[in-house]
């Protein structure tokens, strides 16, 4: 920075204090101001003063508070945040966490199976799992050889084998998973969570989705729909872009230095304050002034979130960063941990590379093996790292795809979509570790025992966050909407 630069910056974080505070502030004040960085619960800024227009509803929070301010949940939460590991395309349950010996016995036989509507190959023969299952940990839960590393964490997993949902096509099922609706545009679960709880860190977005899929609903899957736009997810990169290149949009200043931009911002804020004086009372202009201060701070903090150079070699190795094929997904998982540490409320990681990678209609063996190798170590790394840092206690990790796959073959060696019975697992805050819940039939096709619908999973996730899914509503078009529509039951049996 030029010695002539009249602006002082904080020695700790380069943050330049807001101009209206600059003149009178002491060094001590400045330190206090600057320390409100990562993970801070301090709320100095109003991210947004917003006037909800859509249908004339009032903003959920009034009285000058930011709609993103942390809010009291409905009851004591078990989890403060969620990391959702999305396996786009639909991993096969019978090849991962739901072993079915009957498939081995009847391999290659024509089976008289009841198929869901719209299956491509209803005459497909039974196809056994090409991998071996082995029991792991104290719980003795079986995991296939696709996930040898995750298997080592099996005592932390709460495996739901009886998931079912709607949507025979990806788009429907992916949207159902993210928004609870398969045919209409509805807010994403992350938006609902942010709306319900606010954020823990006002210097970062409260809902971050890392390398989101572009297909099958794309932005809708982290969109706010009719909720105020402040609740929409912020994308860090996108599916197909190497995670090492992922950045927040427009967070990079074109200016030579922060001081140059600060000087411009000082001019702007002086002009805005004159406007405010002229208008006398105008919360919108106050909001604009604050939005620039927050943007300036975000610009400082966001790059740090993404910069993993301070992570130790041990940590990088834990996630498989620097080695193939785990580097990319490893980075996603590590970023997820950094977001969790920074107080981001809802974090999504997507294994998709812009398409449904787990969608093995053919070559199940090759495809699933490649996918599993990419994600297995990073997932295990994330679980271990969270645990070591004590974060697993108040972070809920969710793993799964939009649906599972058929036990019968499609074509020679693939499996078709199966929304009627599949596996997802949870780990961390508030869920029973080393636990299996629910079951599919003998073929692993239809969920039959203790069925858990996607709405039930949503209700349970909200419950763990201290939110009652029936009370978390938003009035739109004259109706109170919920993530779970008119459905959903909390799966109490899996809670600790």
């Amino acid at each position: 920075m030029s010695p002539k630069d009249p602006v002082s910056t904080c020695p700790e974080c380069d943050t330049v204090p807001a101009p209206h505070t600059q003149r009178a502030y002491t060094r001590r004040d400045m330190l206090r101001l600057c320390s409100a960085g990562f993970g801070s619960l301090a709320f100095s800024a109003l991210l947004a003063q917003e006037a909800r227009g859509a249908q004339g509803e009032r903003a959920p929070v009034s009285g000058g508070r930011s709609p993103l301010s942390a809010r009291q949940p409905h009851f004591t939460p078990r989890a403060k945040r969620v990391i959702f590991l999305f396996m786009h395309g639909g991993p096969s349950q019978v090849d991962t966490f739901d072993p079915k010996p009957r498939l081995d016995r009847e391999n290659g036989q024509v089976a008289d199976l009841k198929h869901p509507v719209g299956i491509s190959d209803p005459k497909g023969k039974i196809m056994k799992c090409p991998w071996e299952f082995q029991q792991y940990g104290e719980s003795g839960i079986p995991v296939s050889s696709l996930f040898p590393e995750t298997a080592k964490c099996v005592d932390d997993l709460c495996i739901i084998r009886s998931m079912h949902t709607e949507g025979q096509s990806h788009g429907q099922a992916v949207m159902k998973l993210h928004t609870g609706q398969d045919a209409l545009v509805r807010p994403s679960i992350g938006s609902w969570v942010l709306y319900g709880l606010g954020t823990e860190n006002d210097n970062l977005p409260g809902f971050i989705t890392i390398s989101p899929s572009l297909d099958h609903g794309g932005v809708q899957n982290y969109g706010a729909a009719f909720l105020p736009a402040v609740y929409q997810g912020t994308a860090l990169g996108y599916g197909g872009l190497p995670t090492s290149k992922a950045q927040f949009s427009y967070a990079k200043s074109p200016h030579a230095s922060a001081a140059v931009q600060r000087r411009q911002l000082d001019l702007l804020q002086d002009l805005n304050r004159e406007t405010l004086e002229r208008l006398e009372v105008e919360s919108q202009v106050e909001g604009i002034i604050e939005s620039y201060e927050l943007a300036f701070r975000m610009q400082m903090h966001a790059p740090k979130l993404v910069d993993i150079s301070s992570e130790s070699k041990v940590t990088l190795d834990l996630y498989g960063i620097g080695t193939q094929p785990t580097d990319d997904f490893g980075r996603q998982c590590l970023l997820a941990r950094r977001c969790a540490e920074a107080g981001v409320r809802f974090i999504q990681v997507s294994h998709s590379y812009s398409r449904a990678v787990w969608d093995q209609h053919g070559n199940l063996k090759g495809g699933h093996e490649k996918n599993a190798r990419e994600v297995d170590k990073p997932i295990a790394g994330l679980l271990k790292d969270l645990k070591a840092r004590g974060l697993l206690e108040d972070t809920l990790v969710v793993w799964g795809g939009e649906f599972g796959r058929t036990p019968s073959a499609q074509g020679k060696d693939g499996r078709d979509h199966n929304p009627k019975g599949f596996t997802m697992w949870l780990a961390g805050a508030g869920v029973k570790p080393g636990f299996i819940y629910g079951a599919t039939d003998e073929y692993g096709y239809w969920a039959v025992e203790n069925k858990v619908h996607m709405h039930d999973l949503h209700a349970t996730i909200l419950h763990l966050l201290g939110l009652d899914h029936e009370k978390l509503t938003y009035r739109y078009d004259g109706r109170d909407f919920r993530l779970t529509d008119v459905y959903g039951t909390v799966v109490n049996e899996i809670l600790t």
């Binding site: 917003e50 227009g53 025979q168 545009v185």
Partner: protein
């Protein structure tokens, strides 16, 4: 008795099952132990055992009362099913008997609560397993139900009470539009036209005073953005500020209404309402290469001031309307694109479901856009709040199901295509089809050909053929009538559980009981369109008038523009709304007037009132002015009202003949519109939300206007109309910034669902998957980041700086003033100018750069700052 007989029969059948059932049902030990000895026979007799009754009363009735009676009672039998009596259960609903005593497997009631099939009850969530087991046990025991004497005391309080049609008549928006007289006011000198009298009357009731007029630079900026979405030029500002003629304001309004930019502005508002997009969104984001023709149709319709009733009809049923010319036929086909461009789950493999989803999307859009009604709720159940029954929904659904919207596939049998129709005569279509076939044949031959010489010859042949290609017919997204059929009620919205067939028709509450017979040979869309576009329809005009009002005041008289139902907001000025609505639909316009963009506002004054009051000539003068189609054709000279007596106004009504421009003019020439938005403490205290309109609302510009205003200020805006945005079919999945780089007005940028222009998303442009009656106004950090760091803003700032530096100016201060005029439409205050000059100066102190480069940099930075100010994105 009939019922008794029926019961007896069933009971005897049930008797066999009941005994064994008791043995297998777990969790019932206490009851089975006592009930069994009494014999299974006794439960089937008219005198069931006390134990069985107790079981029913303790375990079954409370569940039914709590979970089922709300929707399945005699007053409100959803799906035709009443669960309040055993007889009714046995009789069942649209799906047949709900109960087979003794056989839970065959009892629909049990299947529904098990949640195994499509029918899942109760809909809000599966019952606890214990309750399901109790119900099963009860059915197995023979479904004991105590005598009718004990008929559910518990149930009554649970029935929330459906909305009865007679109740609906009470709701304001379903009543016929009235023709209220203009109210008397105390401060009559403030009143410029009847609009003001309505506004002032309400203010005076509360002892409030309207704000004084805004200054002229503020006014011209306000009205220019309102009507064109662009800022006024410094020259336009100067002309208005210096115009001392009494109709200076009217001249500005008329100029703007006649400008082609008007249609680009108000067309965009309409595109929000009809969820216009250039791609499908949802799961398969297929682009719509022909959607733009509908967009241009809308812009034209606004610019030509197409009567709104005609505009509406063309969009709903243009394909079924007679046409006076080929061009008109194409125009009307294009208009029906509105029905086709909704988002569809194209890869839905259950095609009957997809068809009904498309129908639902159309009903949702049409009912909200034209009638401000949320009808879609009734797809699954009678509307909870508005008097729309499921049957009525399916009466409408029949109309849309009889219309073809989906067509073919997108090269993958699982992915459906949509209807497009050629805007060309059959010969052209046939010729092109033949040509395409020949090309294909040749290409195939070339592909197969192995001999080099022969291949060359064929390639030449192909070249020659392509050189003579007949023109490809222009295409438009459009519907056509398909197989005409009535649709059965889909119980709980599922096409797998069908109920009774409903004849096609319109919601009863809005038809005043009269039921139109729809033709057997066509879908009924034309009749639907005519019904909605009728001047007697209680909602159509009110909804449109409200949208226009909202466009000028930032908030509608009804704050929920897409919901005029019982859950929507009530109007702040109901009489004004009706006054405008009745004036809007009255009268018929001459054909020529509409086409030339000229409008008559002819107030009709009752003859006996003529000459009454202090300004007797008013009525006649206005009528004369209104009939003058040559010059300022929206002429309604406000000066006549300036000194007008309220008696002269009282019976003044306008006959706008569905002219939106006439409506604009009436609103814009009111005093209410010209009020300043200044903060007035006393009024603010009394009415902080400004519901009564004591001031003009301050409004944030929409995303499109913010972009266009930057381009206009920098001189970079290309004012020519846009064209097609996608040349070819295909899907878009990735955000592509190149799509949004054009320099034309924002309305011509592609509207890509899911991956739309990020600037627009940041500034609250609607999602385009659903109709948007009103946009959000958020103030969030990403907006600030966009203004600080985006290439678009930096580039426009650079261009504006170049423009300013290239223009001759007396000095830097004058240059700063010019920059203010171009961006904010006003001169800077002294302190602002000084602050800016100081900023520009301070740049020079930095080392290592040529002074000229530094100056450019400083100016660019200052211009960016202007774009980033609150003033730039607000109109006051």
């Amino acid at each position: 008795m009939f019922q008794g007989k029926r019961r007896a029969q069933v009971f005897s059948k049930a008797a066999l099952g009941a005994g064994c059932a008791l043995l297998v049902v777990g969790g019932l030990a206490a009851y089975s132990a006592t009930a069994a000895p009494g014999g299974s026979l006794s439960t089937s007799s008219p005198n069931p055992t006390p134990e069985a009754i107790e079981f029913f009363e303790k375990k079954v009735r409370p569940v039914l009362a709590e979970q089922c009676f709300g929707c399945h009672s005699e007053q409100k039998p959803q799906g035709g099913l009443n669960l309040r009596t055993r007889a009714a259960l046995l009789q069942g609903g649209a799906l047949g008997p709900a109960l087979v005593p003794g056989d839970p497997e065959k009892s629909l009631l049990i299947r529904a609560v098990r949640y195994h099939d499509h029918l899942k009850m109760p809909p809000k969530g599966k019952l606890p397993e214990t309750q399901i087991r109790d119900l099963e046990a009860w059915v197995k025991m023979g479904a004991v139900w105590p005598s009718e004497r004990m008929k559910d005391e518990g149930g009554r309080k649970n029935s929330a009470g459906p909305v009865h049609p007679q109740k609906a008549e009470v709701h304001w928006s379903f009543r016929p539009v009235g023709m209220p007289g203009v109210p008397p006011v105390k401060n009559r000198w403030w009143v410029k036209n009847p609009v003001d009298a309505f506004v002032l009357a309400e203010l005076e009731k509360k002892g409030l005073k309207p704000n004084s007029y805004a200054d002229r630079p503020t006014l011209i900026r306000r009205v220019t953005f309102d009507l064109t979405g662009l800022p006024p030029t410094p020259e336009e500002i100067a002309a208005f500020v210096n115009d001392r003629s009494p109709d200076a304001w009217e001249k500005v309004v008329d100029r703007l209404l006649a400008s082609p930019q008007y249609g680009e502005r108000w067309g965009r508002h309409w595109l929000d309402v009809v969820r216009y997009a250039d791609s499908n969104g949802m799961d398969e984001n297929e682009v719509f290469p022909h959607a733009w023709r509908y967009r241009d149709y809308v812009i034209r319709a606004f610019n030509e001031d197409k009567p709104y009733n005609l505009f509406l009809k063309e969009q709903l049923a243009g394909d079924l309307m007679p046409a006076a010319s080929v061009e008109q036929r194409y125009e009307r086909l294009t208009a029906t694109g509105m029905l086709v461009m909704g988002p569809k789950v194209l890869a839905e493999r259950d095609k009957p479901k997809l068809t009904m989803d498309v129908v639902d999307e159309q009903i949702d859009t049409v009912s909200k856009a034209f009638m401000g009604l949320t009808v879609s709720c009734a797809r699954c159940h009678d509307h909870k709040f508005d008097p729309i029954a499921t049957k009525e929904y399916y009466a409408l659904a029949g109309i849309f199901k009889s219309t073809t919207t989906l067509f073919g596939d997108r090269g993958n049998v699982n992915v459906s295509g949509w209807m497009e129709r050629p805007l060309a005569e059959p010969e052209v279509v046939v010729a092109r089809k033949k040509f395409d076939g020949e090309v294909k044949k040749l290409q195939d031959r070339i592909k197969k050909c192995k001999e080099a010489e022969e291949k060359q010859r064929l390639e030449k042949e192909l070249e020659a053929l392509e050189a003579q290609a007949p023109p490809a017919p222009p295409m438009a997204m459009a519907v056509q009538d398909g197989t005409v059929a009535d649709v059965p009620v889909h119980i709980r919205g599922s096409h797998l559980t069908l109920g009774e067939v409903v004849p096609r028709g319109f919601p009863v509450v809005l038809t005043a009981g009269s039921r139109a017979e729809l033709p057997k040979t066509s879908s009924g869309r034309l009749e639907l369109a005519e019904w909605i576009a009728s001047e007697r329809h209680p909602l159509t005009a009110r909804v449109l008038v409200n949208r226009v009002w909202q466009g000028h005041f930032g908030r509608g008289l009804v704050a929920t523009p897409n919901d005029f139902g019982t859950r929507g907001e009530r109007p702040t000025h109901p009489e004004l709304l009706d006054y405008l609505a009745s004036s809007f639909v009255a009268g018929v316009r001459g054909r020529g007037a509409g086409a030339r963009g000229q409008v008559t506002i002819a107030p009709t004054v009752s003859p006996e009132r003529k000459g009454v009051g202090g300004n007797g000539g008013t009525g006649a003068q206005i009528a004369a002015a209104g009939s003058d189609l040559r010059g300022s054709s929206y002429a309604l000279r406000n000066k006549h009202y300036a000194g007008g007596s309220p008696y002269a106004l009282r019976d003044t009504h306008y006959a706008m003949g569905w002219s939106i421009k006439a409506l604009h003019r009436l609103i814009l020439t009111s005093a209410a519109y010209r009020m300043s938005s200044a903060h007035t403490p006393a009024s603010y205290q009394a009415d902080p939300e400004n519901r009564l309109l004591w001031r003009m609302n301050r409004r944030r510009l929409e995303a499109e206007a913010i972009r266009d205003a930057m381009l206009a200020a920098s001189g970079d805006l290309d004012p020519t109309p846009g064209e097609a945005v996608f040349q070819k079919y295909g899907t878009v999945s990735k955000y592509d910034p190149k799509l949004f780089e054009g320099r034309k007005r924002s309305i011509y940028l592609p509207v890509v669902r899911t991956v739309g222009f990020d600037m627009f998303q940041i500034f609250d442009a609607p999602d385009a998957h659903v109709t948007a009656g009103k946009r959000d106004v958020t103030t969030v950090a990403p907006q600030a980041l966009f203004m600080m760091n985006s290439p678009l803003v930096l580039q426009q700032a650079q261009k504006l700086a170049e423009r300013l530096l290239a223009e001759p100016a007396a000095g830097e201060r004058e240059r700063v003033e010019r920059a203010y005029l171009l961006t904010l439409g006003r001169a800077p205050s002294t302190s602002e100018a000084e602050r800016v000059l100081q900023y520009l100066d301070s740049h020079d102190v930095r080392e290592g750069k040529a002074p000229e480069a530094l100056r450019r940099e400083a100016w660019q930075s200052f211009c960016q700052t202007l774009f980033a100010t609150a003033d730039f994105r607000y109109v006051y």
